[in-house]
């Protein structure tokens, strides 16, 4: 009954290489890997010039770990990488396990910071033990959700509110529906069926998207949230990358995804009608307009489900990081605050580059001020 790939069965493969490379035989027999070929250089020997930057903990490497939302993961990873180049002693690792799991790990205190696409609810806040102080929630960057589509010969699709609401709730079934054709004069729309692609996994992107639908679509009945009951018989795909792949594969497909993913996969994106009635192409600049002129509450729980600005792109949200007011490890918390100050200032260029919305200056200043309230003095 043995189902193992045993050495005897693989025997016919081994002799040819075994004589020259004893290491391979050891691997094939399932022994431990051979000793490393090249000895690692002693730390500090390769870059003496950069080690001048002062770090908390007296030069020792500081590993900070976090977990949470998947949507901002590309920009977070880029930031941690760039920041590590500036400060080689600070290593930040991040598990993109989803906002829900991120909040849970933050409240269980198994991470140094959490990240979420949905703001903390009051009952979640109250779950944090008192000796950690209150939860500090700061925005890191803005996200916006686009309609990506796959339709030959149509490069600049315009969707009115009526049109995209109809696609999402399944009442518009073909591409040449008059509600779509009305705003796309001069474009030949095929009579193909529309395949609506949505997320199958619970997701902050779905949350942002459906929050907008609730405001924008009078006939939308499924409510909003990370998982909703889709009225249209569409295809569910896992993750932003799954949605992007499904759209690429299917002629006549349209779905919602984070702008950064549509940008990466070079999918065509639709121009949407906003609250003021204007048609706005999805660009980081237009999306940033949605965040302008809004009053920001003290906990930064700014929601713009349906921005009023004339030039604002309609489906926009912030994403947040969660920190402890009274952290367990003051040195780590201090570095993390340093990092966040850097990310909303010098880190902005990377956000723009990847297709995220950098925080407006006014908001960035407020974030820095809030970071000062973290108690980082050693006891």
């Amino acid at each position: 009954m043995a189902f193992s790939l045993s050495a005897t069965r693989w025997g016919f493969l081994i002799p040819a290489f075994a004589k020259q490379v004893p290491c391979l035989t050891a691997l094939a027999l399932g022994l431990a890997a051979c000793s490393p070929q090249t000895p690692t250089a002693p730390p500090g020997a390769n870059a003496p010039a950069e080690s001048a930057s002062p770090a908390a903990g007296g030069g020792a490497t500081l590993s900070i770990s976090g977990a949470g939302a998947t949507a901002p993961n590309p920009v977070y990873q880029r930031w941690f990488q760039e920041y590590n180049k500036l400060k080689p002693t600070v290593q930040i690792s991040y598990d993109s396990v989803g906002s829900g799991a991120g909040v849970k790990r933050f409240l269980d205190q198994t991470v140094d910071f959490g990240a979420t696409d949905a703001v903390l609810k009051p009952d979640e806040r109250s779950k944090l033990p008192a000796d950690r102080g209150s939860a500090i929630q700061v925005p890191t960057t803005g996200l916006f959700v686009v309609f990506a589509y796959n339709l030959d010969g149509v490069d600049n699709l315009k969707l009115s509110r009526e049109a995209f609401c109809g696609i999402a709730d399944g009442s518009i079934k073909t591409w040449n529906d008059p509600k779509i054709a009305k705003d796309n004069a001069g474009v030949t729309l095929p009579g193909d069926a529309i395949t609506f692609v949505h997320r199958s996994d619970g997701s902050g992107t779905t949350d942002i998207f459906t929050k907008h639908l609730v405001k924008a679509c009078p006939n939308w009945k499924a409510g909003s949230g990370k998982t909703v009951e889709w009225p249209a018989a569409g295809t569910g795909a896992k993750g932003n990358e799954g949605v992007a792949a499904s759209i690429q594969q299917t002629k006549g497909a349209i779905g919602y995804t984070e702008f950064s993913f549509a940008k990466q996969t070079q999918l065509k994106t639709a121009t949407l009608q906003n609250k003021a009635g204007a048609f706005i192409a999805p660009t980081p600049e237009a999306a940033a307009k949605a965040l302008e002129g809004e009053t920001v509450p003290a906990d930064f729980a700014l929601q713009v489900p349906d921005p009023a600005g004339k030039e604002a792109y309609p489906i926009v949200s912030l994403t947040w990081m969660l920190l402890y007011e009274q952290p367990k490890d003051a040195a780590k918390a201090k570095e993390m605050a340093e990092f966040l100050r850097w990310s909303v200032k010098d880190g902005k260029q990377y956000a723009t580059e990847l297709g995220y919305i950098p925080l407006p200056d006014e908001l960035a200043t407020k974030v820095s001020a809030t970071l000062d309230t973290i108690k980082v003095s050693a006891k």
Binding site: S200, G204, E229, T235, G236
Partner: protein, 316 residues
């Protein structure tokens, strides 16, 4: 050159330390065996307690309703149970005949060993491919390949409920086919091992009685290896029902039941993979309930396999 007295005494009398070592080894292996059983029970217990709120709220209606609404906190897993059973059934339908055929071909001496060994190796290598790779292959290769076939089935045989919906790419049949490829090496490898393990005397006795090669294979060798083959099939079925990543990527994840295998659906494992990360409250508990059902399904399958083996295997 005199032999030492201890050497001659060896067969009858063993040293104290050797006997202690023997005992210790038996205890150690025993502890491992019990440990594995304990882990299983611990998992079942934890899943059970976590599922309790959903069991209390929905009871057996969880098994018979298909609404899954996070906003209204109403959950039912009928779609997923149906999807799990149908995809696994399609997978077995394809993989069992092919797998046993492959095993027969490779256990008889049709091929010289120099060619046979690499073929065996290649089939077993199928089992080593990560399931996410199968899923990606499914999205980018299998779905475009199968779509014309699905459309052909629908246009020509659409009057059969099985093919009554127009395929939109992903679907239950794609998931079933991917699963059949994934479980094929398990069935082939285990069946081959049990066929090879049939004592040579039995084969010679059959030939001696005047049986042809085919009669020997179908009336002697296969029945003799039956319990091993069923064991392999059950292991494969377990993998098919529990497979998560590849299925999630090709099944379409739609919460609807349709008699058509060309339509989209979802399975218990794909539901768990999709929703667990962002779930909270009663939703988590309902997901645990669904996991418990998958647990139960696997248990039923194994019990059935045991009964089949006991009833039909050739007594040697």
């Amino acid at each position: 050159m005199a032999t030492s007295p201890s050497q001659t005494a060896m067969p009858t009398e063993r040293s104290q330390s050797s006997r202690v070592l023997d005992k210790a080894f038996v205890w150690l292996t025993g502890a491992f065996a019990i440990g594995v059983g304990f882990v299983l029970l611990a998992i079942a217990f934890r899943v059970g307690t976590d599922a309790l709120p959903a069991i209390q709220k929905f009871g057996l209606s969880f098994l018979t309703t298909s609404r899954w609404s996070v906003n209204d906190e109403v959950f039912g897993a009928l779609t997923q149970i149906y999807g799990t059973l149908v995809t696994s059934f399609i997978a077995l339908l394809i993989a069992v005949p092919i797998g046993i055929g492959v095993a027969l071909f490779l256990s008889e001496d049709y091929l010289p060993p120099r060619i046979k060994q690499p073929v065996v190796f290649l089939i077993e290598l199928l089992a080593a491919i990560p399931s996410v790779v199968y899923g990606l292959w499914g999205i980018f290769v299998l779905i475009p390949l199968l779509k014309p076939f699905g459309i052909w089935l629908n246009t020509n045989f659409g009057w059969i409920p099985l093919f009554s919906t127009a395929p939109s790419g992903p679907g239950i049949y794609v998931a079933g086919i991917i699963l059949s490829i994934m479980i094929l090496p398990i069935i082939a490898a285990i069946s081959r091992d049990s066929l090879v393990a049939v004592p040579a005397e039995i084969r010679q006795a059959a030939y001696g009685l005047g049986a042809t090669r085919w009669e020997t294979i179908f009336q002697v060798i296969l029945p003799a290896a039956f319990s091993g083959i069923v064991g392999g099939i059950m292991l494969a079925l377990g993998r098919a029902m529990g497979e998560t990543m590849a299925v999630t990527m090709v099944i379409g994840n739609s919460n609807s039941i349709s008699p058509s295998i060309l339509s989209q659906g979802s399975t218990v494992s794909s539901l768990l993979a999709n929703q667990f990360a962002e779930a909270g409250g009663l939703q988590v508990s309902s997901l645990m309930y669904a996991a418990l059902i998958l647990f139960g399904l696997t248990l039923v399958v194994n019990v059935l396999a045991e009964i089949i083996v006991r009833r039909f295997s050739l007594k040697l």
